[in-house]
Structure formats: C-alpha cells, structure tokens
Symmetry: C2
Subunit: 208 residues, 2 copies
C-alpha cells in the first residue's frame, strides 16, 4: 500500500474510532485563537512528534506551533517571523518560546557534504550555485543547538516587527528523555533601545 | 504562575509520569531518521496540535513535521525548502505531503488590517515599510486554503532543489472533524522538463 493510501486508511479508521470522540470531548471550546496566548518555535525532528507537546503540558487549542529544520530564522521577514507577527497581532499571542533540542541533525550537517549529495542525486549545479552562500551561512554556522537557541532568541528579540513587551524564552529539549531546560528566561532579558542585547543572566548564558 | 513556570512544572510532572514510560515503550527504535521516509508541511494552527498526527496515523519517529502560518512557501530557498532539502538528502525522506486546513486564519487576514494593528501597537512605520510589499504578496493573495495547497505543491514540485522522483501530495484537513481529503495525488502529478505544470487530474483540481 502507498504512503498516501496508508494515511487515508488511517484517517478513515480514526474518524470511526474512540480517539476522536475523546479528542472532541476534551476540546469543545477550541478555536484558532490559542487560549494560553503562546507560540512555540521548534524543530521538525521526528523524535519531537507526539513527545514535545506532552512534555510541555501543551494541549490542542492552547498554542501555535511553528517548526522547521533546526528551528532556524533565515531572514528578518522569513516565514517564522511572519508566523509570529500573525500570531501576535491577529491571534492574541503574548509570549514566545524557542525550543531547540540536543543532537539536532542540523548541527551535524555541512554545506559541502549536502551539496555533494545533491549533485550525486542529479540536482543542477546552477540551482545549487544560486543558494550556495546562503546554505553555507546556515549549515556551517550551526554547531550547537544551545548556541542556536540563543541566536534565535536574539534575532526575534531584536526584530522591530516583534513588540518589546512580548517575552521570548529559549529552552532546550532532550529528544530522548523528554527533559526541558531553560537557556534564556525571557522575563529577565531585555533589549536596549538601540538594539544592543543585554540579559540579566548574560554571564550565565555564556557558560551553558 | 507564569507560563514559563507552568511549562517547567508540567515537564517535571511529565518526567515522573506513566505517560513518558508508555512513550518510551512504544518508541524504542526512534532516531532522527523518519522511518516512514515522509515529511509533512502544515499550518501552525492550534486546532491541529495533538489532532492532525493521530488523524493521519502518524507516530513519533515516523515523519518530519514542518509548520508555519498557512503552510506558506515564501521564497525559492525559504526555510521550508531548506527543511525539505535536508529531509531528503540527509534524512532519507522520499515523499512529501502538504496539508492545508479549512478555516485557515491566513485566508481571513489582509495586509491592511494587520498593518493597522501593528501601528497601533507601536511598531515602527519604517520597519513595516521594509516588508509591506512582501506582506501584501503573501496575505492578500491567500484567499482559499485549497488554492494555497495547490500553489504550494506547485512551488515545491517546480523547485529545482527538490528531486523530481519525490512525490508531492496536497491534502486538506478539517480542523474540527479531523477528516482529510486529497487535493493533489502526487503519484499522478508530473512536471515537464521546462517546469510547466501538468497533472493527470488537473481538470478535477480546477473544480475543487
């Protein structure tokens, strides 16, 4: 059976199952407005599926969930920033959590190896040349998931489209054990008017 | 209690709960490589949390999950394309599903209203001016979640960084009932060499 057929079969079974009854019973007042006023931004990693949300005590109807490879911000108006802007101004989000995870695949990837794999699969060199510099800037700078969380908090915190009264927290998740640790407490971190970063706990962060 | 404190408390309780034992028992061979070789790209909507994955029969360890506002592709090397590139060339993904959903918030938003809200919240006009054209192109073109699914499938299908032998399916999800319908069957849709789109079922698609 094809993957698409498997998904459609699973959906048909789901629609007739007790699981969907239970979901409906537990979420009768659910709307597109997250009732905990929270947006989380995390990684696409498959170990987080059906694991991160329960590990955070997050349920349907409570938060907006944004995910990409390595919870990466790739520009000042990248889709994650747009998603946060819509979340804040249209959907009542008042707080943001960035959740990186240990053993993130992106921290093990290099642009050189990836390009070799793309070429050997028949991707055109011209297409690769169009994105090579951006690929290097992204993959070859991503060495450590904790540093990436700090960098992403910083990028969001400094983005002039994000109101300064929105706390931006940085957390790190263990995708095997389920444990969560704080990297940046967004209630304590502030931005100076000119965009220079300072945090009450900046010295502690340097040591993580 | 602050939202951050709530999340940390929930995590502490989770770590000592039976839920985590059950998750570990059910996912002993989980790694970063999705064992169903599938990546899904869907919306950040909170109604999908803990709902879309069970509705698709998807479990931890099986798929990569990418999410943003309106499952939008904002450029030829936007973070979603990067996430798919890494998924395919580094993590063994062989198939892609785009899953839009009915009543998507993005289809009800306009750039004009959003900009008014941003200005009244104190966001600088200069910052808004830097992104105004992109915001219009994104929000004011997004009228219908099904059309958006077709457009996103088309953008991925035509992207020269995505191998042509990777099926790209388009699905639409009902965020209230949990039902899934096929918009584009990626096994039947092909791209001509010069990038013109044709689908075996293109006439049917026009009528959805």
């Amino acid at each position: 059976m094809s993957t698409l057929a498997q998904v459609l079969k699973a959906n048909s079974e789901f629609m007739n199952s007790k699981t969907i009854q239970r979901i409906h019973e537990n979420s009768h007042s659910v709307s597109k407005f997250p009732n905990r006023h929270l947006a989380i931004f995390t990684c696409m990693d498959t170990r987080l599926v059906e694991f991160l949300e329960p590990a955070m005590g997050i349920k349907r109807g409570e938060v907006k969930v944004i995910k990409n490879a390595g919870n990466s911000i790739t520009g000042p108006f990248a889709s994650t920033i747009r998603s946060l802007v819509v979340s804040i101004f249209e959907l009542g989000v008042k707080e943001i959590m960035i959740i990186g995870h240990m053993d993130c695949g992106i921290s093990h990837s290099t642009s050189r190896e990836l390009i070799q794999k793309m070429l050997s699969r028949g991707i055109s060199l011209d297409a690769i040349k169009m994105v090579e510099a951006e690929l290097e800037l992204w993959l070859d700078q991503f060495h450590n998931p904790i540093d990436n969380v700090k960098s992403v908090v910083y990028k969001i915190r400094c983005n002039p489209l994000i109101p300064k009264d929105i706390p931006v927290h940085g957390l790190i998740f263990n995708p095997n054990t389920g444990a969560i640790n704080v990297v940046i407490d967004g209630y304590k971190s502030k931005i100076e008017e000119h965009g220079t970063y300072y945090a009450a706990d900046v010295e502690r962060l340097e040591k993580i």
